[in-house]
């Protein structure tokens, strides 16, 4: 059979009719729409909470790891040029975020401030010549990868400049290693958790939309019998489920936003040990447009893909000889 080629005008008319029919169907199937959107709202909200929780947790981990640094204690005999060369070399190491120098006098001052309430110690230190060494504080970019820094400062020519073991040794090294392992594990677990739940959410939404389309399979069959082509039948379902996605995503953002607004004063005042809960609200406000856009796109995509797959089986020409 010969197909008449479609003109642009014809295609636009068809697209317009598909969008219009999708919108009308959305309004005329309110209960089905509400059921599907409610399911999408719940799953998208939980996913959003998980993402925010993950970011909050990540922030706390970052705060902990930011406190990790390596102190290199210098001999009193180290000259100024030796010191600046050493610092210059350290800065060249890729994993080094920042390097700061603490002179003997600064170290003494810091010591006095730290022990301001302990007069015995203050008296003892004032009776001797300043015994505290000058030191270099190295902050790594990635605490999981500080061995390169450690290897460099432990080279024999560098070791000669040092009065003592670095702070990254012994018990302290063990503690740092434990923290880094734990934070890496927790970060990975959180990311895997978000991914798994996102997949489960997509499957739940897909199933809900499949049920909604199963309820209307007779309509698809009638449209087929009347001679409608695949796109003309499927299009309005895709438009309708995309609308579910948009509305559920926006409602989810409004819900989460309202919750943060209502509980902001409680969040500001409370903390769970190291966990900085108020960061969750800050993260949401800071990334509001990104979250809104991302969530809406995800809602649209899940809706569209689900209805395309769900309508497929009812659109097949199954006749056999």
């Amino acid at each position: 059979m010969k197909h008449k080629p479609k003109t642009t005008n014809h295609r636009l008319t068809e697209l317009g009719r598909i969008v219009k029919t999708g919108c009308i169907n959305f309004v005329r199937n309110p209960w089905l729409a509400i059921a599907a959107m409610a399911m999408m709202l719940v799953t998208l909200t939980i996913t959003l909470f998980l993402i925010i929780a993950n970011a909050t947790f990540g922030n706390t981990v970052q705060q902990i790891t930011d406190k990790i640094d390596i102190s290199v204690y210098l001999k009193d005999s180290v000259t100024e040029s030796q010191r600046s060369d050493f610092i210059g070399d350290i800065k060249q190491i890729p994993n080094v975020k920042s390097v700061s120098y603490l002179s003997k006098d600064d170290a003494l001052e810091a010591y006095k401030q730290q022990n301001a309430s302990n007069t015995d110690l203050l008296v003892a230190i004032s009776q001797t010549d300043n015994p505290l060494p000058a030191s270099i504080q190295i902050k790594p970019k990635d605490v999981n990868n500080i061995d390169a820094i450690k290897n460099f400062i432990e080279k024999p020519e560098n070791k000669e400049l040092q009065s003592d073991e670095t702070s990254y040794s012994g018990d302290r090294k063990e503690a740092i290693d434990k923290i880094t392992h734990a934070t890496r594990f927790m970060r990975e677990t959180a990311v895997i958790g978000v991914v798994i739940f996102t997949i489960i959410s997509a499957l739940i939404i897909f199933n809900t939309i499949q049920m909604a389309i199963f309820n209307r399979r007779d309509e698809i069959h009638i449209m087929r019998l009347l001679g409608a082509n695949t796109n003309y039948i499927r299009g309005p379902f895709v438009v309708e489920t995309m609308l579910y996605g948009i509305i559920a995503a926006v409602a989810s953002i409004i819900l989460v936003g309202s919750l943060f607004r209502l509980t902001s004063s409680t969040f500001e005042a409370s903390s769970l040990g190291l966990l900085d809960i108020s960061y969750a609200s800050r993260y949401f406000s800071k990334n509001f447009w990104f979250i809104l856009t991302g969530q809406t796109i995800i809602g649209i995509l899940i809706g569209a893909v689900s209805s395309i797959i769900a309508t497929k089986r009812y659109l097949k020409f199954k006749a056999v000889k």
Partner: protein
């Protein structure tokens, strides 16, 4: 216009064929009634003509289209050329009377202006003026079937096939439907009507093809209903 040549349809190899070597030829503008008891094969014949089913063997040609060479992607085009009326109306539940009829034109890309111009005329033919905005659930069985007929004829098809269109209707409404089909036939459309309503067959005085146990038992130019 419609040609079936030794058409056989077997659904289940262990059971008798639904249709066995059925041959028939329907001329343009003819009004043909196909009669037969339940399970005789009338609905299978209908499904073969709309290409819901494929024949196990034999040849079907409708309006010059040979079903053997018809590709899946061309089935929508074939169905747009044939008007179909079903016993259970098959109206789209979420669309108004107007939208149900308009759907048949929209899928063929007809302009809105033409749709708005054509539908009132068709509604007039089937006697449903003023019901445009009603939903199918707000109509009686007879009215629903008239919407289905309006939808089938709105594209002015050369062929209209109606599968037991009066099956769910009381005698008065059944005759309304038959009158509409006769009117359409007078306009030049070939009508193929399946029924087991003896009264309709006897009063219409048209060509009657009787199907019994999947075979053509008789084919008479103007006949009364024979006990089958």
């Amino acid at each position: 216009m419609i040609l079936l040549d030794r058409v056989t349809k077997i659904y289940n190899k262990d059971a008798a064929p639904a249709l066995e070597r059925v041959s028939l030829h329907v001329e343009p503008k003819e009004f043909v009634i196909i009669v037969g008891a339940s399970g005789a094969g009338k609905s299978t014949l209908f499904k073969l003509l709309t290409r819901e089913e494929k024949p196990t063997s034999g040849k079907i040609i409708v309006g010059g289209i040979d079903y053997e060479t018809l590709k899946d992607k061309d089935i929508p085009l074939l169905r747009r050329k044939i008007g179909t009326v079903f016993q259970d109306f098959k109206l789209l539940p979420n669309k108004t009377v107007f939208e149900n009829i308009a759907y048949a034109l929209e899928i063929a890309g007809t302009s809105k202006r033409e749709i708005d111009h054509t539908i009132p005329k068709v509604l007039d033919i089937v006697g449903l003026k003023g019901k445009e905005k009603n939903m199918p659930t707000e109509l009686s069985g007879g009215e629903r079937q008239r919407v289905a007929i309006a939808r089938a004829i709105v594209r002015q098809p050369k062929i209209l096939i109606a599968d037991e269109p009066t099956g769910n209707l009381d005698p008065k409404h059944a005759w309304d439907i038959i009158s509409v089909l006769e009117k359409i036939n007078r306009f030049g459309t070939t009508v193929l009507l399946t029924t087991h309503n003896q009264d309709i067959v006897n009063k219409l005085k048209r060509r009657v093809i009787t199907i019994k146990d999947g075979k053509v038992a008789s084919d008479q130019a103007t006949s009364g209903y024979k006990s089958i």
